[in-house]
């Protein structure tokens, strides 16, 4: 290329302003079309588009074909991402229904972050509004558990330092706090989400040897689902990450109270008081919390 022929990054003010507006218009139009939305057309663009549609149908075919590719990419990437985030939901309703549900969500909830892993937090609420899923009354809670697991597994690592527990003997327990495991949180569920999770993810239940156990679990799950509307309060579930995989289990109201205190960064003394109030054996509780890596350190 001759040096004098090189495109320089210089242009007149008007020309540049036109280019700025045109580039913005184009980017807005393409994104809007991928999202099936309609941004306002600039007057100039509306006239030019109308002229082109009238005179050049082949361009319209090209545009539509290209747009279909991008729209399809968006939908397929979205479905793939949602199936990674919500594997239990997909397992329970099947691939076809999950694809349909995902498509609906992708049309309903715009993707506001670049990262697909951050998309889908509204699925539990969205499911509640889906008439077609009324036969799965537990699905919204299962989606909530899936999302919580997904979120916990992406949280920042913490250093497990059981040796710091020695400071419980010597330090001021009014000033010390327990360092919770990454993502430690309490959730409440009306439906048997742990059993439903197990039904989909436990390899033994998927195997031939596990057929009887699966039948038994299914029977229990069905019963629990029917009973869900009659129970007075939902069950508490604690969720945390010990290593790389999320852990979760049901806890009593008393244990839930203790975990709430830890999560609220209450002092060790306040946590011990709560343990005492509920007549929980402190040594046993502490030993279990450390061996399960519910608590990572004292600081």
């Amino acid at each position: 290329m001759n040096k004098s022929d090189k495109p320089a990054i210089h242009s007149s003010g008007d020309e540049e302003n036109n280019q700025v507006n045109a580039n913005q218009d184009y980017q807005r139009q393409l994104i809007a079309k991928i999202f099936n939305m309609h941004p306002p057309y600039s007057q100039k663009q509306a006239i030019e588009t109308a002229e082109r549609i009238q005179f050049d149908a082949s361009i319209q075919v090209n545009i539509q074909t290209g747009l279909n590719v991008y729209t399809n990419n968006f939908i397929e990437n979205g479905i793939r991402a949602l199936s990674i985030t919500f594997p239990t939901v997909e397992g329970l309703i099947g691939e076809d229904s999950f694809r349909m549900l995902s498509r609906k969500l992708l049309r309903h909830e715009a993707k506001a972050s670049f990262d697909w892993a951050e998309y889908g937090i509204t699925l539990p609420t969205f499911i509640e509004g889906q008439e077609a899923l009324e036969t799965y009354p537990f699905l919204s809670e299962v989606a909530q558990l899936d999302w919580a697991i997904h979120d916990v597994q992406r949280q920042a690592d913490k250093e497990f330092a059981p040796s710091t527990l020695a400071s419980l003997e010597t330090g001021d327990t009014d000033l010390l706090c327990f360092t919770a495991a990454p993502g430690l949180q309490l959730l409440t569920f009306w439906f048997p989400v742990v059993d439903l999770y197990q039904l989909i993810h436990d390899p033994y239940l998927q195997s031939e040897e596990g057929i009887l156990a699966r039948k038994e679990l299914l029977k229990n799950v069905t019963e629990s689902i029917h009973n869900a509307i009659n129970i007075a309060t939902p069950r508490s579930l604690v969720l945390w990450r010990a290593e790389y995989k999320a852990q979760f289990e049901y806890v009593s109201d008393a244990e839930a109270d203790v975990i709430q205190k830890i999560n609220a960064q209450a002092s060790v003394n306040a946590v011990i008081d709560t343990i005492g109030t509920h007549n929980i054996d402190l040594v046993e509780w502490l030993s279990k919390a450390i061996s399960n890596k519910l608590i990572f350190a004292v600081a």
Binding site: I9, E15, E16, D25, M37, I63, Y70, N73, W116, P182
Partner: protein, 330 residues
Amino acid sequence: MNSKSNTKPNSLIGVGLRHSHYAAALSKQPLADEVLNSINENGKKYNIDFVEVHAENFFAAGGVTQSLLHDIAQAYPLSLHGTSLGLGSTLSVPIDILQQFTKLVKRTQPLLVSEHLCFNRAQVNGDILHSGDLLPIPYNTKSLRTIVTHIQQVQDSIQRPLLIENLSAYITPSELVAHTKDDMSEFEFLVSMCESAGCGILLDLNNLIINELNRKTPDPLAVIEKRLQALPAHMVGEIHLAGYTDQLPASDEDIKQTSFIIDDHGAPVSEQCWQLYQYALQQFPGTPTLVEWDTKIPAWPVLVNEANKARLIAEAVVATADESSLASHS
């Protein structure tokens, strides 16, 4: 002159490392001899020189991905390939994403760092929406200014030059919005971008081929080869190779309509791509080369086989160049 004293370095050959290959790629077990022998006429056993990972897959603050990345980086030199910055967007580079990207580059000290000639988001009716895709930008002065500013911002942050990958595009900006005019060609844009921003080019040969096939260009390889001659050799910092799935029209109506080839990286490197690679290496000798295979992913040895093919071509190009050099000196 023997093969050791040639002036052209051997290309580093890598593969795109995707989730389904983590276990195999990190396995201490060597590939079965019969696999290697079946793919290598000389009986040599080649290793992968580097692997490319997508930066965004390792943006999570913690968890298993961080540990995996550590293991991968211990086993192979890394190429960090970004897909999220959308450097051609008229919106500014999101600071949080840039920080995550920078942190990753500084932590892993990769061999290569790359991004794309694209935009990915826009403000529509007051909200910023992310397509999660690599969308084409117009090749005009303003786009150039925008992307140069953003590339420089990223380079300042990561403290090293970026390689920018040319795109496969399914839409021409001026077809969608008529007053979006190109005032230069793709390659003119790339050269100006490199000169202004101090970045390099990640030359994706498969993308060039797909674009020309979709434009129904007669003799596409000849057209591309001619264009490659205009690229200064020092600007090309990496080459990507890939294949694509043949698109079979489902109906007569589809045949009448424009049938597009989708850049799905879902097949072995295409024959056209191998042919173009040989030509490209003559133009840009010693360029690190990476084989991508992202959908319908085969077993790890099949991907390694593709890398071995690339290495054979690279070695043949060097040998031919050496012979020519010898002949000209005798």
